[in-house]
């Protein structure tokens, strides 16, 4: 069974589970939240459409080579800093992000720098922020969350240097 299928099954069983609890609170609660969720869905679809379809074009004009270049051989804190920028600027989904990380590891990139890259990518890859976080969350929360997250790829790199792993 593929991991994606497993996650889909987990996802829908969770929906089913909380739906059941809601139904236990009474059919009115259930139908109210069903309507609420559907309205959210209808409301979000145009933004998701714009994000999914648009991000392909944005990704197409940022070649991966540019990103890989930023994950260059600089092994100090400057390397960490450029890895953070590279993580934020990486277009595309997880396949591209992790593949760039793997390429960097294999071509002699420093481990703390790659850790910083992966953490920065997870925290603020622009495509996920644009495509998912801004449509669903209050914009003020998103900017705030990104701003307070800035130190943490550096913290991760420092821990990696300290413990000498992975």
């Amino acid at each position: 069974m593929s991991a994606a299928l497993l996650i889909d099954i987990l996802l829908w069983s969770s929906v089913f589970g909380v739906g059941l609890i809601a139904f236990g609170r009474g059919p009115a609660v259930f139908s109210a939240s069903l309507r609420e969720g559907s309205l959210d869905f209808i409301n979000i679809v145009p933004r998701i459409a714009l994000g999914v379809i648009g991000s392909g074009y944005i990704a197409a004009i940022i070649p991966q080579q540019v990103i890989t270049g930023w994950l260059g051989p600089d092994s100090g804190w400057l390397g960490v800093a450029s890895a953070v920028v590279a993580g934020a600027a990486t277009p595309g989904g997880p396949v591209i992000g992790f593949s760039i990380g793997t390429v960097a590891l294999k071509s002699g990139g420093g481990v703390p720098q790659v850790v910083a890259y992966v953490v920065a990518w997870a925290l603020f890859a622009f495509q996920r922020v644009i495509l998912w976080e801004i449509p669903f969350m209050p914009a003020r929360f998103v900017w705030f969350r990104c701003a307070v997250s800035v130190p943490f790829p550096f913290v991760a790199a420092a821990i990696a240097m300290l413990i000498g792993k992975p």
Binding site: L6, D40, T102, P138, V155
Partner: protein, 231 residues
């Protein structure tokens, strides 16, 4: 029903304030405001506001401009064929994502309906301390699914009384130590060794990010007196 319109009120406010980060009327999304205390949800019998969700905000416009410029650049470089290639690929991606988005929206709606607001604002609110950050972290780590679940659920938590700090801990925990992306993508591509160590290194980060978020939030937006302050 009262709970539901309460949430709608918050979500609508949230969506409307796109691009107006300092609008003072929206400044306390994460906390129960004096006029709208979470504990008084039963009294919240105001009629459900109409269709006030606005799908178009400043962020949307900026993204649309960005997309249009990028598509134009692709067209100049690769011609109409290149533009259509990306369009068909992304349309099929979009079709695959839609059911999951629906699942995420339903999950968010059900969770905000069944979680007691008073309890949430006590255990995840501004006064929840380290425990609230740990609960947020645990919640983010066990949440199934991808961004299509994490953000609707985080948004629902904000609406029912979690503060920015606990919600930041949840979102950061989901993205850094959640198992979904690690199992589906990171382990196959980067290897088990790297992934596990990367997760171990990331373990303290959600709590730290949430704590920093709280620390900055109360200084950035000094909150007015509420009855919470007396406790």
């Amino acid at each position: 029903m009262g709970v539901s319109s309460h949430r709608l009120h918050h979500i609508a406010g949230a969506l409307n304030q796109d691009g107006h980060p300092l609008d003072p009327t929206q400044a306390r999304l994460s906390e129960p405001s004096p006029k709208d205390p979470a504990s008084a949800e039963d009294a919240d019998s105001e009629p459900r506001p109409g269709r006030v969700r606005k799908p178009i905000g400043w962020s949307t416009i900026i993204i649309a401009v960005l997309v249009a410029v990028s598509a134009a650049l692709v067209w100049r470089r690769d011609g109409t064929g290149g533009v259509l290639d990306i369009l068909t690929h992304d349309l099929s991606l979009f079709g695959g994502i839609l059911p999951r988005v629906l699942a995420g929206c339903l999950l968010g709606a059900f969770i905000s309906e069944i979680l007691p607001h008073e309890k949430v604002s006590r255990s995840l609110g501004p006064k929840s301390g380290l425990m609230g950050l740990l609960i947020g972290t645990a919640f983010g780590a066990i949440l199934p699914g991808g961004p299509f679940t994490a953000y609707p659920v985080a948004s629902a938590l904000l609406a029912v009384g979690a503060d920015f700090g606990a919600t930041i801990a949840m979102v950061v925990s989901w993205t850094l130590i959640g198992y979904g992306r690690a199992v589906a993508w990171e382990i196959p591509i980067m290897g088990t060794d790297f992934t596990l160590w990367r997760i171990v290194i990331s373990l303290p980060l959600p709590v730290l990010a949430g704590a920093l978020g709280r620390f900055v939030y109360v200084r950035l937006y000094p909150k007015p007196m509420t009855k919470d302050d007396e406790t």
